[in-house]
Symmetry: C2
Amino acid sequence: MSTTRTEQPGEAVAPDLQAIHEAHERIRGQIHRTPIFTSETLDQIAGASLFFKCENLQKTGSFKFRGATNAVFALSDEEARRGVLTVSSGNHAGAISLAARRRGIPAWIVMPRNAPRAKRQAVESYGGRVTECEYDMASRDAVCKEVQEKTGAVLIHPYNDAHVIAGQGTAAIELLEDVPDLDIVVAPVSGGGLLSGTAIAAKSLSPSIRVVGAEPKNADDAYRSLGSGKIEPAAKSHTIADGLRAVLCPLTFSILRKYADEIALVSEEEIVSTMRLLWERLKLIVEPSGAVSAAIILQRKITTRGKRIGIILSGGNLDLDQIPFANSGK
Amino acid sequence: MSTTRTEQPGEAVAPDLQAIHEAHERIRGQIHRTPIFTSETLDQIAGASLFFKCENLQKTGSFKFRGATNAVFALSDEEARRGVLTVSSGNHAGAISLAARRRGIPAWIVMPRNAPRAKRQAVESYGGRVTECEYDMASRDAVCKEVQEKTGAVLIHPYNDAHVIAGQGTAAIELLEDVPDLDIVVAPVSGGGLLSGTAIAAKSLSPSIRVVGAEPKNADDAYRSLGSGKIEPAAKSHTIADGLRAVLCPLTFSILRKYADEIALVSEEEIVSTMRLLWERLKLIVEPSGAVSAAIILQRKITTRGKRIGIILSGGNLDLDQIPFANSGK
């Protein structure tokens, strides 16, 4: 996406706490203030007090609607008139589509052919206009450029955008308003937009809070990047957490180096069994990517005993035909 | 169960609104005040405004915890000391087990061998002591009598009990506190405890409200009973809604004749597709029995256009290995 970076309406600079508060004011009337769920059984498993911020219950089924709404509604009228454009395999695409419809402007979505069916259907149901591309970056960039030249639409990057990051940070603002005395907050990391917004908000409001990113072992680029000090390429392995395949950009990398304490990893089996546990105990549909943050805690990847832990369940969109534990006979 | 009726602590008389309010006071500190979910998409499908009372998010995963808690906590200390006993294939059993544990007394549960695995595991996790019986009524009554003679425990019937019915009615009290101007309220009907409590509460608070019972076509005894004017035997067909196989007792039959406006029926296919729709759109795990009330509305079994409709989603417990639409390739 670097070829189109100069077209971004949100600057590629880190938002501060003030920008996140402004984002919250801007989007408050458009989003759900999502509830926080608790479970005695899950607390027993973790040996800790867990507070699940249910972004799977956000409009469009994921936190992405926060950042998308902030970016779309921050556009000037002149910018907005041209419509918006994005490249996404899933939740950001649905979020941009609905945010654009709410503003009364068109949304063009460039989406890989192999995107989950449920996510594509969601985009179309929100009025997004899908153009397919191949999975490789060259095809995405080419198709994106083509659509942009034809339409003049404003590109809204899924995470390399200050307005998007500020919008994602509003979930942590709400979480800390509802549960002020958290010791740890956990969010999944892919391109890093949610974790960046979460980390800026949490560390600014409560410097002693520990900010942990959650990543599949099979998509461990953020873990490796923060270890090596430079942005590492994507892992080649497959992960069921289809929302967590993106890699950090320079903006999110620099934010996470400054504000995130740790990235922890979980296996595919741990993601699936955690997802099942959340379904059984919280009675909530959480997608694999959304279960990764809970897996870090419930599978004891970090020290949790006695702590008060906020966990962002990032999304709830998945093909219900493809439930990994159904009919397994387990 | 008629053989053991004289042992019941709750009289087999209809509770009134006052009794339901007293139940609410008694159990308020023990239960969740469950949230009400809404969905623009489901409103569009129904052509109505839908308010889902999420009893799948109740403690133990079903509304049954309301009635069980009321019955267990209404016992005198002397009665309570003997422990409690019930016969149930599922949610009532889990509910009694946890309510008894909260009061610090033992719970003996007589349960058919073929009860869903998830429900049996739940009973055991709440400290209930399971004794298996066969599915037929003779075996149930014999095993129940045997356990009762051995332990002296107080039988708490799943629905032929004024305290249980009053407890179930507290869900409708909360629903109407949160959404006072409902035109219709829908609850599933099996033995009739939930629908009886709902109907007494709703008609007492708002006489113009329409109270609709929801039943599977394959377990249509309440529909037939209210049509013929006498309690009809259970249907012989199988239904996926495993919580809705019981038949009315004289108490619930007389309450429903007086207060319920209608029983509407749905097919097995309609139950499954509605359950899927609820999972996709509300991001909530709802069990088949819990989806039956929503199916009446979303499959347009009654006239709904423009109405404000409260729908009780009664439970969220099911074996996640046995999801009826998973891997179907649909």
